[in-house]
């Protein structure tokens, strides 16, 4: 059995406002375990604008600034500049935003921060919809999913089109480091964040973050579902170091059905629709494998 590599220190206190089984709570927990509590966190409108608690309380052990929905990329650039002029160049700045705040309304500012080479870590915790406002679709909602704005019905269809590929968008900015992580694989998560911390420039983390109320699954199944997303190749774990792709989990290649049928948001899918999703997942997995120069479960 491998030695446990996850630091014991906690940055997130219990009793916060997260829902039972909240994946985003685990994302923050592993993030702060990996980076330590001496970071500066910048959080826009998202679930994590509420989870820390109401004024004057906080369940976070780190200095945190909140900003407007679309402003995380801007905020981390401002923070970096201020700490640099104050002679504190070693302070780690972390932008921490949801998928809506990253792939939709915050994409411009994030692209700007990447192009400017802002020395910071940007984490997108991806629960695949606007969950804080009550499950509306985002550009990161997967094809076929139910949300309150893709409700199905006689004429309306479910979410159409694939989710936006944020990893490829960020890699196209030629940033030094990008990685996908999952709360189903905490060791891999923590190691990637520690690797990100060693780099300079903008580093991007795509964190898979199941949401029991939005995905309609039992709160006790969060980790199981996160694991299945990797094992079915729906959410591959990989990193891109200075343009070099490294797959960090092969995954068992289970049928997507195993992942989809555990969530109410996919319960309406027909066998044919599931088949179509299976096909797309296989194509994407094949593409990623062709791009990757290394494929290993034993990288670290």
């Amino acid at each position: 059995m491998a030695k446990l590599t996850i630091p014991a220190e906690e940055g997130v206190c219990p009793g916060n406002l997260g829902c039972p089984g909240c994946g985003a709570n685990l994302v923050m927990r592993y993030l702060l375990k990996a980076l330590g509590n001496d970071v500066i966190l910048s959080v826009p409108a998202c679930c994590w604008a509420v989870i820390p608690g109401y004024y004057p309380n906080s369940s976070l052990k780190v200095a945190t600034i909140f900003s407007a929905f679309e402003a995380t990329g801007a905020s981390i650039s401002g923070l970096r500049a201020a700490f640099d002029v104050r002679g504190k160049k070693d302070v780690t700045i972390v932008g921490f935003a949801g998928d809506g705040g990253t792939a939709d309304i915050g994409l411009q500012a994030l692209s700007g921060a990447a192009e400017r080479g802002t020395d910071a870590i940007y984490v997108m915790y991806d629960n695949e919809a606007y969950m804080n406002t009550g499950v509306q679709r985002s550009s990161s909602t997967p094809e076929g999913a139910w949300t309150t704005t893709t409700p199905g019905g006689k004429k309306q269809l479910w979410k159409r089109g694939e989710k936006k590929n944020m990893m490829e968008i960020m890699v196209a900015h030629h940033i030094p480091y990008a990685a996908s992580v999952s709360v189903g694989f905490p060791e891999d998560f923590v190691r990637k964040l520690q690797a990100a911390k060693r780099e300079k420039g903008l580093r991007f983390i795509h964190a898979f973050s199941p949401c029991p109320p939005g995905w309609r699954h039992d709160p006790s199944k969060t980790v199981e579902i996160a694991k299945l997303a990797v094992e079915t190749h729906i959410f591959p774990l990989f990193e891109v170091r200075h343009g070099k792709y490294i797959l960090t989990k092969k995954g068992a290649g289970l049928p997507v059905e195993e992942y989809l049928r555990r969530q109410g948001r996919f319960s309406h899918l027909t066998a044919e629709e599931v088949k179509a999703i299976q096909k797309k997942v296989e194509v994407n997995w094949e593409l990623l494998n062709r791009t990757a120069s290394v494929m290993t479960d034993e990288l670290y």
Partner: protein, 398 residues
């Protein structure tokens, strides 16, 4: 040192003299020369600051907010569409109680496209919790930026401020400007030292959720601060005058109003033209005066009443318009005067929209209209519209 320079360059020199540390900025005509000059100061090592080349004005202001929270003195500049794009973050800056100072080149909003002087961009941000100060000259731009850093960083104020200059009329017009020595500015303006600071290892939340039993007190605190700013601005100006030799008459300058029968209240660059008209008409024996409104926020209600009380008529020159109502300065001034004994008739003159020249002849026409005691069905008049009389009452509807 005395140099001939534009209003844009005066703003850049003021930022340099204020030793700003972080400058996130995005270019927009006619503000560009401010950013260009600051970039060259930094490139030449004449200013030790971080420029952040942002991808929008929204990001410029958002970056200012985070940088100021992390303890840096921040500066930016914008105009018109850019200010409108910042709108959301303007509230964020004031609500976070950050002493950000911004040069704002007031310019018309599209459509139709217009890059010329107009105050609607500024008026539309009146309620964002920013101090708004209009300038008459390039020298006033330079001095005001330095003065406002001093004012805004006071613990009793802690609000952001915009220093406003008219597009092209100031931003691109050369005027002689006295540049104070750095050591004299340093004596006036100490380094930025915020009491509360975002620091690693110091758990704290900046801008978290406040419930209804907390939120209102934050807003009340902002109003107290804004009223403190009104009280403290003349004191800051007096200190500036002692140390650097210039002042501008507080929130509302009285120019030949004491024995005047009629008074015109105006702001921005048109004030300097109006001074000449007042002098000429005084020479002709006409008792006219001029009030120069420097701050729209805080609004100097008491000063306005002190200036206009007992006059036969008061005109307000508005370089913007609220459609279906009237000019913003007019409604502010009439609101302040309402119910006071001896409060005069107040008439709104909407002029200079979209950069239309407000000439001495136009201003004379306004004074003559005031002196004539002419009324009309409306207290709001548009001035110098094409193909009509000089003064045309607002009309339409019922």
């Amino acid at each position: 040192m005395r140099k001939v320079m534009t209003g844009d360059h005066a703003a850049a020199y003021a930022a340099r003299l204020s030793r700003v540390q972080v400058v996130p900025a995005y270019p927009i005509t006619p503000q560009t020369a401010i950013v260009e000059k600051l970039s060259s100061f930094v490139a030449n090592g004449e200013l030790s600051a971080r420029m952040i080349d942002v991808e929008s004005e929204h990001t410029a202001m958002a970056a200012c907010i985070s940088a100021a929270t992390a303890g840096a003195r921040t500066f930016t500049a914008t105009s018109s569409q850019g200010l409108a794009l910042m709108h959301e973050m303007l509230f964020w800056a004031s609500g976070s109680r950050l002493p950000i100072v911004m040069a704002e080149v007031s310019r018309a909003l599209a459509p139709p496209w217009s890059i010329w002087a107009d105050h609607l961009d500024v008026i539309a941000e009146r309620d964002t919790g920013w101090i708004q100060l209009f300038c008459e000259s390039n020298q006033e731009v330079l001095d005001s930026i330095i003065m406002l850093y001093r004012l805004c960083e006071m613990q009793r104020v802690l609000l952001p401020a915009m220093v406003i200059m008219d597009a092209f009329i100031l931003s691109h017009t050369l005027e002689p400007v006295q540049i104070p020595g750095q050591h004299r500015v340093d004596e006036f303006l100490p380094p930025y030292a915020p009491g509360t600071l975002l620091e690693p290892g110091s758990p704290s939340l900046f801008g978290s959720v406040a419930k209804p039993d907390e939120y209102m007190e934050f807003r009340y605190g902002m109003d107290v601060a804004m009223r403190e700013a009104a009280r403290l601005l003349p004191e800051v100006e007096e200190e500036y005058r002692r140390k650097l030799g210039r002042s501008y008459g507080g929130l509302l300058e009285n120019y030949r109003c004491d024995d005047a029968d009629v008074v015109l209240i105006a702001n921005g660059s048109v004030v300097s033209t109006a001074r000449q008209v007042v002098d000429q008409m005084r020479a002709e024996g006409k008792k006219v005066g001029l009030g120069k409104l420097r701050t729209l926020r805080p609004f100097p209600s008491a000063e306005v009443n002190g200036l206009i009380g007992g006059k036969a008529a008061v005109g307000v020159l508005d370089r913007s318009y609220s459609f279906g109502s009237g000019g913003a300065l007019f409604s502010e001034i009439r609101g302040a005067a309402y119910g006071r004994s001896g409060s005069p008739r107040i008439k709104d003159y909407v002029a200079g929209i979209g950069g239309r020249d407000v000439t001495p002849e136009v201003l004379r026409g306004i004074y003559e209209d005031l002196l004539s005691g002419r009324g009309g069905e409306s207290d709001v008049a548009w001035v110098d519209l094409a193909g009509g009389p000089l003064i045309r009452n607002a009309e339409g509807g019922g």
